[in-house]
Symmetry: C2
Subunit: 204 residues, 2 copies
């Protein structure tokens, strides 16, 4: 059985990565990888849906048991991608989507050479700024912080395999899925069929 | 303006390449490249639709004027892919599809590094044989000739970028289109957007 594809989504804050991931689950049956974290749940967050909420002790234990395909500490808290879910889903032939920061994406690429690193962006820099502002009623300070974060993220953009603009959500989702479909058609993923065909034709 | 993609379809005889190309034109608006040839039209063939029918003198003239992106002689006749149509369509941002033999495909790849070489096959060697036989009421000799040709073609299969099975026509057509869509999303085809975004974010 063919393994599933591992799709890593990164991109600017406010650009709609979460919505893209959700649509890939709904529209194309992707399996969504849920991160584990030691931070406390915010209002409305559900354990197992938004995050797996863990104590720091449990989280450190999982690190020791190679339980994460990548993890990182931001400020006070740990965040990690549970290995078991990702590997079981891939082995079952399901496409797995995960939304992750740049550093995590690169760490995963080192372990999964077939991982597809997709950077989601907006049609223009102005539009990225509009979306950062448009989110709510944030102070200028918060907006400036987000903007300088975006400048940093833009520098990693050109290390991604694919750059996809989220202007029309359905177009964007279909493009991500096209990348996965195309990968499955690559010669190196079809060498068994090639061999069977070559040998089969000779012996018929 | 973004250039269109150049898609080269090759594959076993009887595997439905022509139908796949036709559906790409109908469903996704691809431009179909029509070959020129010096052979005489068969019954029902229309000049400009099936082939551009040329005299040998005209054909040789076009060769001298670099009028073909590839050409070859089979038995008594010349076959070639007119350059003008392909380049104008690509420049206009249209995806161009062309159905061609293995040698022509490789000749084109040398000139167009972004050409997508797609090999269309059937789900199994037995199925390829069934389709070769299934075409009509050919003699055993003709079938054996076709079969040994298929053995040769299968050896070139593993030099194609993509291997796509034509089992369900619509699935096959959508997979070819996914390959084109994915290519347009590749980082190297989006460096202008990346640069604009990086610079735009810094100067906002």
């Amino acid at each position: 059985m063919k393994k599933g594809a591992l799709v890593i989504l990164s991109g600017f804050s406010g650009v709609g990565k979460g919505t893209v991931a959700k649509r890939l689950v709904e529209k194309y049956g992707y399996s969504l990888s849920v991160s584990a974290t030691t931070r406390k749940p915010r209002e409305g967050e559900v354990d197992g849906r938004d995050y797996f909420f863990k104590s720091e002790e449990d989280f450190r234990n999982l690190i020791d048991y190679n339980g994460f395909i990548e993890y990182a500490r931001y400020v006070e808290n740990f965040y990690g991608t549970p290995r078991k879910f990702v590997e079981e889903e891939l082995d079952a032939g399901h496409n797995v989507i995960l939304e992750i920061e740049v550093q995590g994406a690169f760490a995963i690429r080192e372990q999964y050479e077939d991982a597809l690193l997709v950077f989601i962006t907006a049609p223009s820099a102005q539009e990225i700024k509009n979306r950062l502002i448009g989110r709510g009623t944030e102070s200028e300070e918060v907006i400036n912080k987000r903007l300088s974060r975006a400048v940093e993220e833009s520098e990693d953009m050109c290390q991604y395999d694919y750059i996809i603009v989220n202007d029309d959500l359905e177009v964007c989702v279909d493009q991500v899925h096209a990348v996965v479909t195309a990968q499955a058609c690559e010669r190196r993923h079809n060498m068994e069929l090639v061999k069977e065909t070559m040998e089969g034709l000779k012996t018929l």
